[in-house]
């Protein structure tokens, strides 16, 4: 697909200094759409969550969703922005069938929030400040599905289908100022920034924040300049990079691609790029110039949004604990070491562990499961741990089964595989796979008798007080029961049988 030359990342870093910029779109989880009373629900039958406003019928008018404004102000406050006392929407005019009015109603020169910052903590604890240019409100477009082509893109398609369920879903677009000085940590910073935004909007409760559903979508701008030069290079904008890992990879790839172009003495083309998860490369989209003419003008069907200072302060008072402070608190509550906690954060399972603890597991058990079992599986499957679909309740159920001696750790791990394979609940899987630890003493006693009879010398040693020799008998029992016996109970029964106290 891609024939672009790339330089190695190290070589790119030797020669050039990357400058980043991000536009992150956050879909708000309001009950209704930005400008209409149609439901804002993901995943329904196409074109069911629409009314005359969403379809751009003749004569309709937009009405601003107050909850969407509140959510936008909350996002602005969480990003340390100034909230505009009064701001307007504008019309961005362009013809495209996913936009029912052939203009998008969006804020333009009067964003609701501006001039903020966000402190991003990298994996090693380094804190990097990203300046926020603005956060503005807009409406989402419908979803086009191109049919009949090989690539799923409009080029080569026979026809396209359009679903307007998403048309008019409220979005907040968060735009950074150019991010300088990240150097070789640029890809890592990119991932950490988007993760931080996702975490903030989720924490605020204003978005479902599921990247796989497009609730948080990132456009990543990358440009390079030779070390020491102040002027920015020409940027590319990689659109719709929709997982944290992809953000990191896309930024890394674009740095390498730009470096190869520049090294060969050519100029970088200012354009949008498409990200391909399968090849971890980008391909050329459409040329983008600053002169794209959307004929913006103030939306005459809407009155300005006025955010009184009292209202802003009321909203500020409702803001939840910021994620960074929350992390500090959780670390103390859970009693993890610095290293343990950082691993948990870096693995991206903080929420999952918190949920698991809330569902009844101890902090150490929750960490053991997520870090020991689930993160590894997510890596193998090449997805974020949260995307595996493991529920907190499942982890609690598994750990309880182990604690109750119903299954052992090895079996629990097998049960988890079964859960991930969609075989059912842990209990069902234990049942189906016949994994239960044998706790009926009858069959155990039989197996013990057989094992003692098979190894009389060992039995004598134990009787003589060499209790550590018991392993051989236990091993024999476990073998006979194909691992389904509770080793602890087996040990107890052997000692009892031989009249020895441990």
């Amino acid at each position: 697909m891609s024939t672009d030359e790339i330089l190695s990342f190290d070589e790119a870093m030797e020669k050039y200094d990357p400058v980043l910029g991000f536009e992150v779109h956050v879909e708000l989880n309001t009950k209704t759409k930005m400008f209409s009373s149609a439901p804002n629900v993901f995943g329904d039958e196409p074109n069911t969550n629409v009314n005359e406003v969403d379809l751009g019928m003749p004569g309709v008018l937009p009405v601003v969703n107050k909850t969407a404004i509140e959510s936008s102000i909350k996002i602005g406050l969480a990003l340390n922005c100034t909230i505009a006392e009064s701001c307007r929407f504008a019309r961005k005019n362009y013809f495209y069938p996913d936009t029912p009015k052939n203009f998008q109603t969006s804020q333009y020169d009067e964003p609701i929030a501006y001039d903020g910052y966000l402190d991003i903590e990298l994996e090693d604890g380094t804190v990097f400040r990203v300046e926020i240019e603005r956060a503005h409100m807009e409406e989402d477009a419908g979803k086009l599905t191109h049919m009949g082509g090989a690539t799923g893109r409009i080029q080569g398609a026979d026809f396209s289908l359009v679903d307007y369920n998403r048309a008019g879903v409220p979005l907040v677009e968060i735009v950074t100022k150019p991010i300088e000085g990240a150097g070789s940590r640029a890809p890592e910073l990119a991932k950490a920034y988007v993760a931080a935004i996702r975490e903030i909007v989720k924490n605020l409760g204003v978005s479902d924040a599921k990247m796989e559903r497009g609730n948080v979508r990132c456009d990543a701008n990358v440009s390079l300049r030779p070390h020491g030069r102040e002027r920015f290079g020409i940027r590319s904008e990689t659109k719709n990079v929709n997982s944290l890992r992809a953000v990191e990879h896309a930024v890394r790839y674009e740095i390498q691609r730009h470096a190869a172009v520049l090294s060969s003495g050519n100029p970088v083309v200012q354009e949008t790029r498409h990200w391909h998860e399968d090849t971890r490369t980008t391909t050329s989209g459409r040329p983008k110039s600053d002169a794209d003419d959307y004929r913006y003008f103030p939306e005459p069907d809407l009155v300005p949004v006025v955010a009184s200072r009292e209202w802003v302060e009321e909203l500020r008072a409702t803001l939840p604990e910021p994620p960074a402070e929350r992390r500090k608190r959780l670390k103390a509550d859970w009693g993890y070491s610095d290293l343990e906690f950082r691993d948990v954060v870096n693995a991206g399972v903080l929420d999952e562990i918190e949920e698991t603890i809330a569902a009844g597991a101890s902090a150490s058990v929750a960490r053991k499961w997520w870090m020991g079992e689930i993160v590894g599986r997510a890596k193998a499957a090449d997805v974020d741990p949260g995307q595996l679909g493991v529920q907190a309740a499942t982890v609690v159920e598994l750990s309880r089964m182990v604690e109750a001696g119903k299954i052992n750790n090895k079996m629990a791990s097998q049960v988890l595989d079964g859960v991930l394979a969609g075989e059912g609940t842990p209990e069902e899987i234990v049942e189906k796979r016949g994994l239960a630890v044998v706790s009926d003493d009858g069959p155990l006693l039989e197996a013990i008798d057989a094992a003692l009879a098979a190894q009389p010398d060992v039995a004598d040693k134990i009787r003589a007080g060499k209790v550590q020799a018991i392993g051989a008998i236990v091993g024999g029992v476990m073998k006979a029961t194909r691992g389904q016996a509770d080793a602890g109970r087996v040990k107890e029964l052997i000692l009892e049988k031989l009249g020895v106290t441990a």
Binding site: M57, L61, N93, F95, N102, R295, P300, D301, V303
Partner: protein, 523 residues
């Protein structure tokens, strides 16, 4: 002989009653809503072939609503008590306003055959008042014009002279009311589309304060200028209708939050003593037809005799209003009309050859579906909003708009109500200005400032011009939210003029094919 109803009111007389008079007779049981509605439907059948005011006649539904009103009245009790004053009084609706159950075309081929899935707020309110909707009236395509000649469905003719224009864009509504095809109609006014047709047809037309009447369901031309309003034969009727359709609507963000004033009471005040009425220096004299100027002066004389104080005010920035209007209106229209692309509804035209891409289908649809005047304004507006031109055109126009608003503020510091001729001329012959857009645009010079400032305006008949015997309109303007003043002054001036004429001006209109024996028998 025309058919007589039991109380002896002929259909001929019935259709000439004002809406208020008809409402009284309906309430008194002297006529039924079905009789009244049928009389209007008969009149439409008899004369609309000549006038072409209606694009669609909604006979069945109108009669059903009328029958429902009659049944409620006949049953008596609380439900009859609760009937709206105008229940059973028929009305025509400009075909720019969407209605369930009837086509809405906006006078354009691009919406031919389209049925709205929803009712405009004003239509919901008409239905709530149980007013039978007679049908949809003709207009310049998307309300773009001053003569109704830009309708894709043929021009409407002026009942005073069938070779002349009925004004525009709401020529259909004005002509329907003037030709006694409806007692009431709804119009929309972006730059004078209610008032100028009112002026040239001898009817009353009101552009309410911007935000006084919900725009939800009025197909937008220029959102910041459009306003729905009444088209009637008397000032009181306009007040009654304004009271039905006005008031806050949560579906229109620009709708005013406060309740409407009592406009009907204002129309019944009956005096103008002590009111200061301001003549706008810039809106009469040069460029105005002599007969128009004469009737304007007569109106001033009558108001003075009635105790009003006539003052002169100056609005120097009005000279730039027309230019600013012809930048703001097409800019907003270019964006508002982008939705007509053949993708979701209305006309779809496929390119005759070449690749079948979405852009080319949109292009072919818009090329075939829009008329020349619409295309002219889309092109103008697209240009005015373009990067690099925005500040010079759209930006400057918005500044002029502010200056016009300030002129009004200054003028209203000196006068309670302003007065001017509604249009510089009487109705011009069909075809005369069709090839000269600028001359056509100039006809709106006196009405446009009110739209730019959002203030309310009312046009009422001022008499006939000496040189051509055609109606002249007098325009009254009030500060925003002071629509009541227009009804107060308008009703007084109307009664003084009618006293002078010995009856309504429309009584002097030439007879059209009157409700004849044949049409009555055909019933």
């Amino acid at each position: 002989m025309t058919e007589q109803n039991p109380t002896g009111i002929s259909a001929e007389t019935l259709i000439r009653l004002s809406a208020a008079q008809l409402a009284e007779k309906l309430a008194a049981g002297e006529v039924t809503a079905v009789q009244a509605t049928q009389a209007y439907l008969d009149r439409i059948a008899a004369v609309d072939g000549q006038v072409n005011a209606f694009l669609h006649v909604n006979a069945e539904e109108a009669l059903a609503v009328a029958a429902e009103v009659d049944a409620i009245r006949a049953a008596g009790g609380a439900e009859a008590e609760a009937l709206h004053y105008l229940a059973g009084v028929p009305i025509a609706v400009k075909d720019l306003i969407v209605t369930i159950g009837q086509p809405t075309t906006a006078g354009s081929k691009i919406l031919e055959g389209w049925h709205s899935p929803y009712d405009a707020t004003v239509v919901e309110r008409l239905r709530a008042a149980k007013m039978p909707i007679l049908g949809k009236t003709n207009l310049d395509e998307f309300a773009m014009g001053s003569s109704t000649e830009h309708s894709a469905y043929g021009p409407t003719r002026n009942p005073w002279d069938l070779d002349r224009i009925p004004g525009g864009s709401g020529g259909g509504s004005a002509a329907a009311v003037a030709a006694f095809e409806a007692p009431l109609a709804l119009g929309t006014d972006t730059g004078g589309s209610i008032r100028q047709p009112g002026a040239v047809t001898g009817t009353v037309g009101v552009k309410p304060t911007y935000g006084s009447v919900s725009r939800y369901g009025a197909i937008a031309m220029a959102s910041s200028l459009d306003q729905i309003g009444p088209v009637t034969r008397t000032v009181l009727d306009s007040a009654l209708l304004h009271q039905v359709i006005g008031g806050h609507d949560p579906r229109d963000s620009t709708s005013l939050p406060e309740p409407l004033a009592d406009l009907v009471a204002a129309a019944k005040t009956g005096n103008v003593e002590g009111l200061r009425i301001g003549i706008i220096k810039e809106l009469h004299g040069e460029g105005y037809q002599a007969g128009v100027e004469n009737r304007f002066n007569d109106a001033l004389e009558l108001l003075k005799e009635a105790g009003a104080e006539i003052v002169e005010v100056s609005c120097p920035n009005f000279q730039y209003a027309l230019g600013a209007y012809y930048l703001i209106m097409p800019s907003e229209a270019s964006s508002n009309l982008a939705k007509f692309d053949g993708v979701r509804y209305g006309l779809r035209v496929l390119p005759e050859d070449g690749p079948m891409t979405i852009e080319r289908v949109m292009g072919a649809t818009r090329a075939a579906g829009f008329g020349d005047e619409v295309k002219r304004r889309i092109i103008l507006g697209t240009y005015a909003l373009s990067a690099g031109y925005y500040d010079a055109y759209y930006g400057s126009a918005q500044k002029v708009r502010t200056l016009v608003q300030r002129d009004f503020e200054a003028a209203f510091a000196q006068a309670d109500v302003l007065i001017s001729p509604t249009a510089p001329t009487t109705a011009f012959p069909l075809g005369e200005k069709l090839d000269d857009p600028l001359a056509m645009y100039l006809n709106d010079v006196a009405t446009i400032p009110a739209n730019l400032a959002g203030v309310p305006g009312l046009s009422l008949p001022g008499g006939l011009a000496d040189e051509d015997g055609l109606p002249v309109g007098i325009q009254l303007l009030a500060p925003a939210r002071e629509d009541a003043r227009l009804y107060r002054v308008g009703a007084v001036l109307e009664s003084l003029l009618e006293a002078k004429w010995g009856g309504p001006l429309l009584a002097q209109a030439p007879a059209l094919g009157a409700v004849s024996l044949e049409t009555q028998e055909a019933k």
